[in-house]
Amino acid sequence: MSRSRQSYQGVALVSPVSVPYQRYSIETAHWWIARALKASLDGAGLRPRDIDGFSVASFTLFPDTAVGLTQHLGLCPRWLDHIPMGGASGVISLRKAARAVQAGDADIVACVSGDTNHIDSFRRMLSSFSRFAMDASYPYGYGGPNANFALLTDRYMHEYGATREDFGRICVAQRENALKSPGAVMKKPLTLDQYIAARPIADPIALFDCVMPCAGSEAFLVMTIDEAEKRGLPYAVISGAIERHNAHPQDPIQLRGGWTIDIDELYEMAGCTPGDIDLLQTYDDYPVISMMQMEDLGFCAKGEGPEFVRKTDLTLTGDLPHNTSGGQLSGGQAGAAGGFIGLVEAIRQVTGTAGGTQVENAHSAMVSGFGMINYDRGVCSSAAIIQGGNP
C-alpha cells in the first residue's frame, strides 16, 4: 500500500451537541436521536430539510435502522449511513461524512448517535450483542463487558505491573473534570481511597472502573468550511483520521489495539507529534482501555501507561487534559453515544465553546474510539486529530 491518504481539507465540524444523559428513560432511541439532531440543527440555524446527509449510530433502534429514521423524522437525505460500531462510531461517522462532503455527495451531514436505557434494556441488549458473545462468552458467567475487561485488565496488570491505583488515577481525574461539566451524571467527588475500596464487580474490576449505562444522545454536523463560514459558525477541521478492525488477531489477549497499525500515518497526515496535542479524549468504558490508548496513540511507550498516569496530571488544568467532560466513566455510557462523547466534547474544546470544562489554549485534540467486544476483545478502533478552524 504505497498510496498516501488524502487530506480532509475543506471540511468543517460544527454545532456539537450533548443532550444531558439520564440513568433510565421511558423514551426511545428515536426520541433521543431527534432531540440531539434538533439541538444541533438549531445551533447552526438549520431546518431538518436543509440537511442532505444523515449518519446514525445506535443499538436500541430495533427494529429500525437509519432507514426507518428518515421517515420517522421526516428527513430526505441523498446520503445515508448507519454505523454499528459502538465506541468507535464517532470518528468513523466523521470520516465517512467528511469524504461525502468532500466528494460532493452531500453538502451537510448530520452525524447523530443515541440510545435509550429502559429498566432491563441493558440486559436485553447484551443478550443479542453478537454471535460469538452468544456462543462463547455469555455462557461463562454472563458478566458482559465487565468480565471481558476484567480479563484484559488482569493480564495487563500482570504484563506491565500496573496497579489498581494506576487505573484509579484515570478515574479520579475524570471525576474532577466531570464536576465542572453540567451534563455529567456523576456529581460527587471521587477520591483514590473510595476508588480502591469500591465494591468488586469482576476481579480486578470494581465499581468505579465500570461505566453506568444511561440514556442520552450526541450530535454534530459536517459541512464545507465555506458553508460554516458563510453561516458564521465556529468550526473544527480534521487533521487526520484512522480506523482499523480486527487488528492483531494473533495476540492471545488484547494488550494493544488497532491504532498501533495506523498511528504513524495519522501523525504524518496531521503533521504533528503527540507533544503537539493539547487534550486527549480516549474511549473509556474501563480505565485499562484508556491506558492502552495513551500507549498506542504514542503518548508513552507500550507498558509505560502506569508510569505515564503516575506522572501526568490528566485534569482540565493539567499536563494532558484527558476526557475533559468526565468521559463515560463519570458522564455515563449512553450506548453508541459513548462513541461520540469524546469527539463532540473535542469539537467544543477546539472551538472554544466547552463552557465549564474549557481547556485553555485548546487548539489540537486527539480523539480515539474503541468498540464492539465481539468475543474476547474490542474489534473496532478509530482515532482523529482535530483542530480549531477559526483563527
Partner: protein, 416 residues
Amino acid sequence: MTHPIAPPPKKNPQIRTASPTSPPGMRSRASLGLSAAAAEGRFMLQTCADCGTVQYPARDACCNCLSVELPWKDVSPRGELLAETTIRTSTNLYFRGRGPWRTGSVRLDAGPMIIAHVHGDVAPRSRVKLLNRLDRSGQGVILAIPEERTPNMEDDPQLRAMTSDPKHRRVLITDGRNPNAPTLVKALQDAGASMIFVGESECWRPNPNRAEITAAGASILPLDVTDTASVRELAGEIGGKTDILINNARFVRPGGVLARGDTGFAHDEMEVNYLGLMRLAQAFGPGMCGRTSDGVNSAVAWVNILSAYALVNSADYGCFSASNAAAFSLSQNLRAEFRPAGLRVMNVFVGPTEDDWHQELPPPKVLPPAIARSVVQGLKDGLEDVYCGDVAKDMIERFRAGPKILEREMTTGGEG
C-alpha cells in the same frame, strides 16, 4: 484444594424450593457441534479440512483460508490460563444464584483463545486441561481444570453444576429383577449415593437379586412399570427425593415379525420398554424438574438403559429393537421437555448382554459391571450419550460413517 461437599441437611419443608434457572442456552447452529461433542464428553473443535486451522468460536468459514469445510475433530485439550476473573455481579439469574463465578482466558496449545469456566483448584496463570461439558442449559461449555488431579476435585461447585455426580444424591433403579440391578446398586454406593431405592414388580414372586440388593443397603419398593397406578404410587412416596432415576426395566425376546407370528411379545416389549418409560416420566418427571435447583441433592439426571439396537434394527431381535427405537425417540422428546429445568437425560446404549435371551449370539457380550461403570462414569461426566460394550461402540462408529450401510450390514448378517 476443593473442600469436600458435606452431606446436605434434611430438607426444611417450610423453605421455598428454588425455581430452576438456566445459563444462557442460545447458540448458533455451528456452535452446536460443541454440544454434540460434550454429550459424549469429547473435546472437539472445528478443524479446517483445507488448511488444518483449529478455530474457536465456531464459524461458518475458516478464519485463515475461508474454506467452508469445517469438520469437528478431537484436539488436544491442553492449554495455559493467561488471564482470569471472578464475576461477582451478573444480570443472568442462574449465575446470580450461584456466584461468584470464576472464568478465564485459556490459550489452547492447538491455537485458539477460549473463554472458559475455571475450576477452583487451577492456579493463576498455570497449565490447564480443558473439559467439554454440558451445562444446565444442555449446551456444551468448556471448563479448565488442573493438569493433575487434586483431592475432591469433583466437588468444585462449578464442575458439579455441569455433571450429574451421584455423590450425596438419591437414586431410583426401576427394576430390581434385572440381573444388572445388584451391580448398579454397589457402583452407585461406591460413587457416594446417599440413598438407593430399587423397584420390584410382583413382589410375591421370588427375586434372586433381592438378598444382594438389600445387603448393599438399598431399599426395595414395589414398582411395576406396566401398571400406571403402581408407578404413581411410588412417585407419590419417593418422587420428591428422587435425584437420579435409572430405568433399567426391560422386556426382551428374540425374533422378528415373521418369526413370531403374533403380537403377544411385541405388546409386552412396548408395555415395558416404551410405555414403561412414558409412565415413569409422567409420574416422576414433573417433580424432578421442579427440584433441579435444590442444592447439593438437587434432581439431576434421568438415565435410560437402552439396547444399541435402538439405533438400527437387528434382524434377530427385530421386534425388541423396534421397542427400543421407540424408547430412544421418546427419550429425545423427554430431553426437549426436561431442558428448561436442566434435568439431563442420559441414554446408555448397551450391546447384547450376557443373559438367557442372548444365549444364541456369539461374544462379545456385556456383563453387569460394564453397564454399572458406564452409568456411573456417564453421570460423573454429565453425559447424554454413552455407548457400553464393544458392539455398541462398533455400531455407533458404523452409524456415523453411514446409517444406510449399517442397516444393510445388520439386516443381511443373518443370511450369511
